[in-house]
């Protein structure tokens, strides 16, 4: 059904295949691909290839894989794809904090199909990997220019692993100075939860700062928390609220005065590319999520990368191998003196590095700044339009301009109608929009939802998005049950909430599912 040009609303109904799990499609003996028998010459050389595996490691029973023909496999995945509301299908400004910007398809072709990428192996001698190593080396140079810091690692396979890497570097730094009593890391309530979880995994005690009345991390609380036990502060700016903290340098100074390092979580740097840098704010380390700011798709559509950068004095702690250049050729440097070691095998996710490299080259320095400016402009336009929707409010610094994202609240709608943020979220799917991201936990902003329009979306996209939320607000005031019982036009009508946090009902493998379903 097309979009009504007057209301910008569409009558959407999702394909309702209710596709079975592929193991349920299995027919004994059915095959998708017939693997050719090993040729005689090969067999003579390596025998059957299995004999060399010790018998104790060999399976006695074949794995219970689904037996399905090729056409059915294709149909299966097409059905599944039609039952999703992914970023290539809807106006995906819903996932605030995730920076779901458009990832140009040309990058996908270069990174995954170019023979220089598709046909290489990480254990090749580095002399035969010159192209990839050059890209990694130059991407490092780009991020140095963007952040002002001196060296990056691309091993971490995600933002949280990047933060873990940072925490490990912090520990190595203090240990190298013989300062072993620094056991605490300070972070803030509106920073990403991995800023506490990852340093905790690295062995630190975590102290969290609550927001002050304006939504900034409470400066007095920071001063009260800092001590000779503080190893580092891990902080985001802007935080989930989207408010830029103009006093960030004061926080950094207070931490440095206490002998702590400062880690800037710039996973999402979309509002500041080419505008501010970690170095000028005084930070010692930072990380960028290439799968956010630098257009690489998120995990399921390609490996993510938490690119961690640091100042010169911390360089020796970075993971190995690092990519070096001697003026003629690129090489892998395994010199591990001081290094925290490896955090991931080989190069991490090299395809994602190629995509980010291509994206930066497409844009150039001016283009990066323009992307940030458009993202901020889009966000502030969206805020202005959304504040006109009955029931929507902005909890902190409502009168201030925001950067790239905002945590909104349906508190008023909830008070007026009993319709809460989860109800609205489910209803959106009936208009062909993906559900939005509510908030990290615990909720500080009541009935929260977090939007981030990025630079990729047009004014028309934003207007359609606002039109849907305005319509749902109207429905909530006129017939709340309609919204509370949403979605109505989806494959699954409503997933019962408790089942996802009841371990006895969660099955992550087929075997588990059969076992729990039988009970």
């Amino acid at each position: 059904m097309g979009r009504d040009q007057a209301t910008l609303l569409r009558k959407f109904h999702q394909a309702r295949w209710d596709e079975p799990i592929i193991l349920e499609l299995s027919v004994p003996g059915e095959r998708g691909i017939l693997v050719r028998k090993v040729e005689k010459g090969v067999r003579d050389e390596v025998e059957d290839g299995i004999a060399s595996i010790p018998e104790s490691l060999r399976r006695s029973v074949p794995p219970k894989l689904p037996e399905v023909n090729q056409v059915r496999v294709l149909r299966h995945f097409m059905h599944l794809s039609q039952e999703t509301m992914g970023t290539d299908v809807t106006i995906d400004i819903s996932q605030g904090t995730c920076t779901m910007k458009y990832s140009p398809k040309v990058q996908e072709h270069i990174a995954t199909r170019h023979p220089g990428m598709a046909e290489i192996h990480p254990l090749q001698p580095d002399i035969s990997l010159q192209g990839l190593l050059e890209i990694i080396y130059k991407l490092d140079c780009f991020l140095q220019a963007i952040s002002g810091l001196d060296r990056f690692t691309f091993q971490p396979g995600g933002g949280a692993q990047g933060v873990y890497t940072g925490a490990s570097i912090v520990r190595a730094y203090h240990a190298a100075r013989g300062d072993v009593n620094r056991t605490e890391v300070i972070t803030t309530m509106f920073s990403h939860p991995c800023d506490s979880a990852a340093p905790a995994t690295a062995g630190y005690k975590i102290i969290t700062l609550m927001p002050d009345d304006l939504g900034y991390p409470d400066m007095n609380a920071l001063k009260a928390a800092l001590s000779e036990r503080t190893a580092a502060i891990f902080i985001t700016n802007p935080e989930d609220t989207g408010i830029y903290n103009p006093r960030i340098a004061e926080y950094v100074k207070a931490a440095h005065d206490a002998g702590a390092l400062c880690y800037y979580d710039q996973a999402n740097a979309n509002g500041m590319l080419g505008i501010t840098r970690a170095k000028e704010a005084g930070f010692d380390l930072c990380h960028f999520n290439l799968h956010k700011t630098f257009s690489v798709p998120h995990q399921c559509m390609g490996g993510s990368v938490g690119a961690v950068g640091c100042r010169d004095e911390l360089k020796k702690f970075l993971p190995v191998p690092r990519v070096g250049f001697d003026g003629k050729r690129y090489y892998l440097d395994y010199e591990a003196n001081g290094s925290i070691g490896k955090v991931r095998s080989f190069f991490g996710n090299p395809q994602s590095l190629v995509k980010a490299y291509a994206w930066i080259l497409h844009h150039g320095a001016d283009g990066l700044r323009e992307a940030a400016e458009c993202a901020v402009l889009n966000n502030n336009y969206l805020e202005k339009k959304l504040k006109e929707v009955p029931g929507v409010s902005v909890r902190y610094s409502a009168d201030k301009r925001k950067l790239e994202q905002i945590r909104y609240s349906w508190e008023k709608l909830y008070e007026d109608t009993g319709v809460g943020t989860e109800d609205v979220m489910r209803r959106m799917a009936d208009y062909g929009l993906q559900h939005y991201w509510m908030s990290h936990h615990p909720w500080i902003v009541p009935q929260p939802f977090t939007l981030e329009p990025c630079e990729s979306y047009s004014k028309d996209d934003l207007d359609e998005y606002v039109a849907v939320l305005r319509q749902i607000s109207k429905e909530a005031y006129e017939s709340p049950e309609l919204v509370k019982n949403a979605p109505h036009n989806q494959v699954v009508h409503k997933v019962p909430e408790p089942s996802i946090d009841q371990p006895e009902r969660i099955a992550v493998t087929w075997r588990q599912y059969l076992k729990k379903a039988a009970k």
């Binding site: 975590i206 700062l209 609380a221 928390a225 008070e415 809460g420 509510m438 909720w443 019962p496």
Partner: protein, 366 residues
């Protein structure tokens, strides 16, 4: 079919607008009426019940006659099963107790009641932990943790509980001696715990992974840091109870227990015994956040008197609370009201609250 008990204390809240600090007792009510107070609670109860009218086909409502519930239920278009009898216009605390007890006997799944701390006290007296109950805030004093934030919120929580989406947890029932309060002294008592639907506004709502209950982590953190030869004065509350559970010790939910070298040396200790105990040994006081208003000292734990706190010292106070509990204060500071203003001032500032295993939160004490 789920059964809801709906109960209104029609006089709750009357003392508030006319400055009487409460509405307990016939004499105060007479005074409130003289001062022009009008009943508030029925209106607020109806706001909550309107939310439940959305699922009226799926619930049976049991209520008490007239202004104790029947009127409100009918106003919301419900057809309640009315039990019991009252004298209209002259209901008392005894009516609340009797009504709650009869509803529990009637087999209701939840009692939704409108009132204040006095009403919660009466409900607790009637049903204890037999069945869950949830308060619609309508009284003057709301120190108890059994109340939803707003009437509508109460309705919403009740709906989700009856639909099987929420579990029940312990919530504090507290009351302040109104007569003493009018004379200027606060003696708040922690009376016990009602089973109350878990308010999930602030708790972990998982996208993936599992809910990590905070209490065992908090307990493990405190126990892990325990110093040999030091006394631990563990205050009342469910959060602090987890610490004694972790040690395998018997606890007094509503009182102060004392631990030394992982052994219980005294249970439910009064002020003078506490003062004697801390006189010649270093001690640490473990406090939880009590009630919906965020009190650390002065509500429900008066045994920890100014003299005891001064002797122990500000640096030796450990505060424990889940992050959700802190967030539910919506930015309001933690409160201390020891009766010693200078001590209260000394205790203000920031405190490092233990929120999990090796997890802490800096929080303001006002």
């Amino acid at each position: 079919m789920k059964k809801l008990g709906f109960l209104v204390n029609p006089v709750a809240g009357m003392g508030g607008r006319v400055g009487l600090k409460g509405s307990d007792g016939a004499e105060i009510l007479r005074k409130a009426r003289e001062l022009g107070a009008v009943p508030q609670s029925s209106r607020r109860a109806v706001q909550a019940l309107q939310v439940l009218s959305g699922i009226k086909d799926r619930i049976e409502v049991t209520t008490y006659p007239g202004e104790m519930g029947e009127d409100g239920a009918r106003e919301c278009g419900l057809l309640p099963d009315v039990i019991g009898a009252i004298t209209k216009g002259a209901t008392t605390a005894e009516d609340t107790v009797r009504a709650a007890r009869q509803m529990a006997d009637h087999g209701v799944d939840l009692i939704l009641f409108a009132g204040g701390d006095g009403t919660a006290r009466d409900i607790y007296k009637a049903i204890g932990q037999r069945i869950p109950a949830l308060g619609i805030p309508a009284g003057v004093k709301i120190h108890s943790g059994v109340y939803a934030v707003t009437p509508r919120h109460a309705g919403d929580v009740a709906v989700r509980f009856l639909e099987g989406k929420l579990k029940a947890q312990d919530a504090e029932v507290m009351d302040i001696d109104e007569d003493a309060f009018r004379r200027g002294t606060v003696t708040a008592k922690l009376l016990g715990y009602l089973r109350t639907p878990e308010d999930r506004r602030f708790v972990q709502r998982v996208k993936s992974g599992s809910v990590r209950p905070a209490l065992p982590g908090i307990a493990a953190d405190v126990v892990g840091d325990m110093k040999p030869g030091w006394l631990y004065l563990v205050g009342p509350g469910t959060t602090t109870r987890a610490i004694l559970d972790e040690l395998g010790l018997k606890n007094t939910l509503l009182g102060v227990d004392v631990v030394l070298d992982r052994c219980l040396v005294a249970s439910d200790v009064n002020e003078s015994d506490l003062a004697r105990l801390v006189a010649d040994r270093p001690a640490i006081v473990v406090l939880s956040v009590i009630g919906g208003q965020g009190y650390l000292l002065g509500r429900g734990n008066q045994q920890l008197s100014p003299a005891v706190i001064r002797k122990v010292g500000k640096e030796q106070i450990v505060v424990v609370a889940s992050k959700e509990k802190l967030v539910s204060l919506a930015g309001r500071p933690l409160l201390v009201d020891t009766g010693d203003e200078e001590l209260d001032r000394m205790l203000s500032g920031y405190v490092k609250v233990t929120t999990g295993f090796r997890e802490y939160c800096m929080y303001r004490v006002g």
